[in-house]
């Protein structure tokens, strides 16, 4: 199929294809937001706090950036399975479970990179903020806001990691046709079935979407940097 197949699919507006694409986007964007909600504040707190065990925590946080997706998938599966502690929520094999798995996967990435960015910025801002008697909450808010352009790049890294993820979402989502089937799991499935043209087409769509999101974020960043300095 290749490039012409992609054009045909897009032009014909195949509803199944678009459902897969939209679900992929929904899951990935939701997971990135959840990961950011957890990762940015926790990364900033670790950056600005001094406590016993901080260094080992940073080492663990950095190590968690390389979490194996299948291990995350298995852990979330065990938590959400009927006999698991969160089994009553009935989330297994739903898009919500996929969001949780992806968020667990990318939250440490966002937290670890945020910690580094905020800590570097704190070195630069420390004297100024202390001299202005800005309190701890104000310091976190100021540093996160002033690091916003770097944080956008970090979020893009998280988005890219989530968008490319297949192992964890396959385990907790089940790759159910029309319900939890996303681009990556479809690509894996169609490849195993020998339907390479559809797999390639979806791969191209995935790459195009990822590049479009990055380009959009880059444009927003350039615009914002120009106006805010």
């Amino acid at each position: 199929m290749g490039g012409s197949g992609l054009v045909d699919l897009v032009r014909n507006g195949d509803p199944t294809l678009w459902a897969i694409v939209l679900l992929s986007l929904r899951v990935t964007v939701s997971a990135t937001l959840c990961g950011a909600l957890v990762g940015i504040p926790s990364g900033a707190l670790v950056a600005l706090s001094r406590f016993r065990g901080r260094t080992p925590l940073i080492v663990v946080l950095n190590a968690l950036m390389g979490l194996p997706p299948v291990v995350v998938g298995l852990t979330v599966f065990l938590l959400l399975s009927r006999s698991g502690p969160l089994g009553d929520l009935g989330l297994l094999f739903t898009p919500s479970a996929m969001v949780i798995a992806q968020a667990v996967l990318i939250a440490p990435i966002i937290a670890a990179l945020t910690r580094q960015v905020i800590e570097d910025l704190w070195v630069e801002y420390r004297d100024e903020l202390v001299a202005m008697e800005v309190g701890p909450a104000g310091r976190v808010a100021t540093l996160v806001w002033d690091a916003r352009f770097s944080l956008v790049t970090i979020l893009l890294a998280g988005f890219g990691r989530a968008a490319a993820e297949v192992g964890a979402v396959m385990i907790v989502g089940g790759n159910i046709d029309g319900f939890t089937r996303v681009m990556t799991t479809t690509i894996a499935l169609e490849t195993s079935k020998g339907n390479l043209s559809l797999a390639i087409t979806l791969g191209l769509i995935l790459i195009t979407l990822t590049m479009a999101v990055n380009a959009l974020a880059w444009g927003v960043r350039q615009w914002a940097e120009h106006h805010a300095g």
């Binding site: 004297d127 100024e128 202390v130 001299a131 100021t142 002033d146 352009f149 805010a228 300095g229």
Partner: protein, 248 residues
């Protein structure tokens, strides 16, 4: 006179209150002494200049005064002023950090940090005070060095300080920008704010100093009215410094 003993010939203008007292303040990092046994009084009134070569401890002294670093020994005392609120201090650094927002937002931020109403009028007034009203909506990080220094002054003034410390405020500026900053400093001092400027620029010291505190190698060697200091420096190091010799 031995250079290790401070010659103190200045005790403030008549009737001026003492704002701050350094009592045998020393500061060391690892085994390196940065400040050694500094005893110094800062009095309300016209500008005091901390003069000395690079590495003499001027910046560290300002940081100790601002409580950004703690002295290794000794202490800073703020004389009790009955019925008067706590002494308000502010500082402008040699390379002030501009927050990633507009000039007006930087001032608004400083007002909020000082628990003052960050009204548009207050922001405009502060920017006008440093000649920056026309640049209110410019991103702070895109301002020139001179404009950034003036914006940093506006932020410092947002605290309504009793005492304003300036660390080499014009070291990166051309003569025109230097004049602009010095004019603002003169106005601020005339309004009753105690200004303490750290500099190694003799010309600037002569232009703005009412009294001079001379530091070398972390020691306070001299405190004297500016006219006396420039005419008859008491320490050998100050004599050499004024003669343009290299003082280590």
């Amino acid at each position: 006179m031995q250079d290790s003993v401070a010659a103190v010939k200045f005790s403030g203008e008549r009737g001026a209150p003492r704002l701050m007292r350094f009592e045998r303040v020393s500061y060391a990092v690892n085994a390196t002494n940065i400040l050694i046994d500094i005893s110094l009084d800062l009095w309300a009134g016209l500008p005091t200049v901390l003069l000395g070569p690079n590495g003499s401890g001027k910046t560290s002294l300002l940081k100790v005064a601002m409580e950004l670093i703690l002295p290794t020994s000794g202490r800073i005392a703020h004389p009790q002023r009955q019925g008067v609120r706590r002494l308000r201090k502010a500082i402008v650094f040699q390379n002030p950090v501009m927050l990633r927002r507009t000039a007006a937002s930087n001032v608004r931020y400083a007002l909020e940090a000082a628990h003052r109403q960050p009204s548009a009028t207050a922001v405009e007034r502060l920017l006008a005070r440093v000649g920056m009203a026309a640049l209110a909506n410019r991103p702070a990080r895109k301002l020139s060095s001179g404009e950034q220094q003036r914006l940093a002054l506006a932020r410092a003034l947002a605290r309504e300080p009793d005492i304003l410390f300036l660390d080499e405020p014009t070291s990166n500026l051309d003569p025109n920008a230097t004049k602009g900053v010095e004019d603002i400093i003169t106005h601020i001092a005339a309004e009753g704010v105690k200004v303490v400027i750290a500099t190694h620029d003799l010309g600037q010291a002569r232009r703005v100093a009412n009294d001079v505190v001379f530091l070398a190698n972390g020691r306070l060697l001299e405190q004297a009215p500016a006219t006396d200091f420039f005419r008859r420096p008491a320490s050998e190091a100050a004599r050499r410094f004024l003669a343009g010799e290299l003082v280590f």
